[in-house]
C-alpha cells in the first residue's frame, strides 16, 4: 500500500510540473490563438537560468525560482515582441499566419536549443541544491523534493488564480483571451496584454524547469519530453482551460508514475498517450473543453 502511495505522490509532483508547463501552453493558446511549440525550450531555458543564478549567487531555492521566472519571462516577452508579433499580425488560428506561427514555434524551439548548446554545451549539468531532509507523512517517508515541488506549484497556481480573478490587469488578460476586439473597445491595450500573457506563461514554464532541475540533470534536450507530456495534459484537460491544464497534468503524472511502477519503467513515456486516447474517446473536447472554439 505504501508503495502505491509513494507512486501517487511521485506522480502528483511530476504532474504538477507538467501542469505548470501545460498552464503556460493553455494561456498562450487562449490569449494568442496559437499553440506554442517552443514552450519546452522555455522550460529548459528556465532551468539553465536558474542554475546560473544558483551557481553565481548561491541564493536559496525560492529566490532562484523567482529570479529565473522573472528573467525567463522577460526573454519570453522579447521573443513575442520581436518574432511572433510580426507573424501574428495576420491573425492566429486556421489563418495562414496561424499556420506560419506553428512553423515559427518549431523554428524558435531549434534556435533556443542551439543557443543553449552554444552557451552551456552538450553535457547534462547537475543542479546541486539540497531540498533538505526527507519528510515523514504518517507511515511513509518521502524525499523532500517531491513535497516542495507540489507546494511551490500550488503557490504559483493560487497566485495565478488570484491575479486573474482579483486584479485589474488579470481581468484584462481574461478579456483579451475572450475577444480581442471587444477588449480593445474597453480601453485595454491589447498588444501589451498579449506580452503580459506570454511573459507569465514563460515564467511558469521556467518555474517548472527550476523545480525539476535538482531531481534530474539540466541539459539542452530536456524540453521536448516535457513539452509532449504537457501538451497531452493540456489536451486531456481541454485546450485553453487552466483548471483543465492542472487536472490534465496531474492525471498524466500519476498515470505515468503508476505505469512505471506496476507495469514497466522502460515504457514510461507512452502511458500519457494511452491516457490521452482514452480521455479523447470519451470526451473529445477534453475534461473542461468546449468544442465550439476552432483554433490551430
Amino acid at each position: 500500500m505504501s508503495y502505491f502511495f509513494d507512486l501517487v505522490v511521485v506522480g502528483l509532483s511530476l504532474g504538477m510540473v507538467y501542469a505548470l508547463v501545460a498552464i503556460g501552453i493553455s494561456l498562450i493558446y487562449a490569449g494568442l490563438d496559437v499553440v506554442h511549440f517552443a514552450h519546452g525550450e522555455i522550460y529548459m531555458l528556465g532551468a539553465f537560468i536558474g542554475l546560473v543564478i544558483f551557481n553565481k549567487f548561491h541564493l536559496p531555492l525560492p529566490l532562484v525560482l523567482v529570479g529565473s521566472m522573472v528573467l525567463t519571462g522577460l526573454v519570453g516577452v522579447f521573443i513575442e515582441r520581436v518574432f511572433y508579433r510580426r507573424v501574428l499580425k495576420g491573425g492566429g488560428g486556421y489563418t495562414v499566419a496561424g499556420m506560419a506561427m506553428v512553423i515559427c514555434g518549431f523554428g524558435m524551439s531549434i534556435v533556443l536549443q542551439n543557443v543553449a548548446f552554444l552557451i552551456w554545451g552538450p553535457r547534462a549539468l547537475p543542479f546541486p541544491v539540497s531540498y533538505g531532509m526527507p519528510v515523514e507523512l504518517g507511515s511513509i517517508t518521502l524525499p523532500a523534493s517531491y513535497v516542495w515541488i507540489v507546494i511551490a506549484a500550488l503557490v504559483l497556481m493560487a497566485g495565478l488564480h488570484l491575479f486573474l480573478k482579483k486584479t485589474r490587469l488579470g481581468l484584462a488578460v481574461r478579456a483579451v483571451a475572450g475577444n480581442k476586439e471587444i477588449a480593445s473597445l474597453m480601453g485595454i491595450n491589447v498588444p501589451l496584454t498579449i506580452s503580459v500573457i506570454f511573459g507569465i506563461a514563460c515564467a511558469l514554464g521556467a518555474a517548472a524547469g527550476v523545480l525539476v532541475g535538482p531531481i534530474n540533470y539540466v541539459q539542452v534536450q530536456m524540453g521536448i519530453g516535457v513539452l509532449i507530456k504537457a501538451f497531452a495534459a493540456a489536451v486531456i484537460g481541454g485546450f485553453g482551460s487552466l483548471p483543465g491544464a492542472v487536472l490534465g497534468g496531474l492525471m498524466v503524472g500519476v498515470t505515468e508514475s503508476l505505469g512505471a511502477g506496476y507495469l514497466s519503467g522502460s515504457y514510461k513515456d507512452i502511458y500519457a498517450f494511452f491516457l490521452l486516447i482514452a480521455v479523447l474517446m470519451v470526451r473529445p473536447a477534453g475534461m473542461f473543453g468546449v468544442i465550439a472554439k476552432v483554433k490551430a
Binding site: N179, S184, L185, M186, G187
Partner: protein
Amino acid sequence: MLKTIDVVGGYGKVQILNGVTLEVARGQIVALLGGNGTGKSTMLKAISGLIKPWNGSIEFEGERIDGMRPDRIVRRGLVQVTQGKEAYPGMTVEENLLLGAHVRTERAVRARGLERVYAYFPILKERRRQLSGILSGGQLQMLCVGRGLMSEPKMMLLDEPSAALAPQVVFDIFRAIARICRDGMTLLLVEQNVRMALLLAQYGYVIKDGVIHIEGPSEQMINDDAVRLSYLGGTVADRERKLSL
C-alpha cells in the same frame, strides 16, 4: 464634439464607406440610420478605431483620432457601447462592468461607476454575482450600456441597442438611454429601428451605399416622406411616445 469629414474606408479591398461627413455637438443625441449593409457599422468601427479609414478625417474635441488605436480613443473619453451579445459570458455582471472601467485605476472612481450603473439599472445590481451568460437579451444590453458608462466617458457610440429585442424591452432601454443623456451625455446612436431612434435623437443622418443620403432635425425627418417610405415602413411615428421618453 465629434466631426468626420469625407471618411472613406472598408475591409481588405472592399470599399464600404464612400465619404461620410457627419457632426455631433456636445450634449446632442444624433442618430445614424440605415439598413443592413449600408455602412453604418463600418462607420462606427472607423470612429472607435477598430478599422483605419483610408481617407478623410475624424476629429474628437478638435483633435484627429482617425487611425488611432481603440484603447487610446477610449482614454480620450469616446467609448463604443457594444451590442448586448458582446458581453463576456464567462465573467460575472460585475466583472464585465469593472472591465468597462479598465482605463480608470482609482478605486473611488471604479466604485462610483458601479453605483451609478446600478442606479440606472437596478436589475444589474441584483444579478451582479451571476455570470452574464445567463442574462436575458434586454439585461445584456443594459449591461453593455452600463459597461460603457464605467469609464465616465464624454461621449458614447451606441451600436444598435434595439437589436434582437422585444418592443417593450427596446422601450425600456431607450428610456434609460434618454435618462443617461439628460444627465449630460453626448451620443451617436446607430440604429435600424428608425422610429425609436428619431424619437430619441435631435438630429438624424441616413446612410446608404456608404454615403450620407438624407440628414436633418429628427422632427422634420419623421415627417419626411422619403425617410418614411424607405425606412419607416409607411406609417407615421406616434409622436405621443416622445412625451414619455
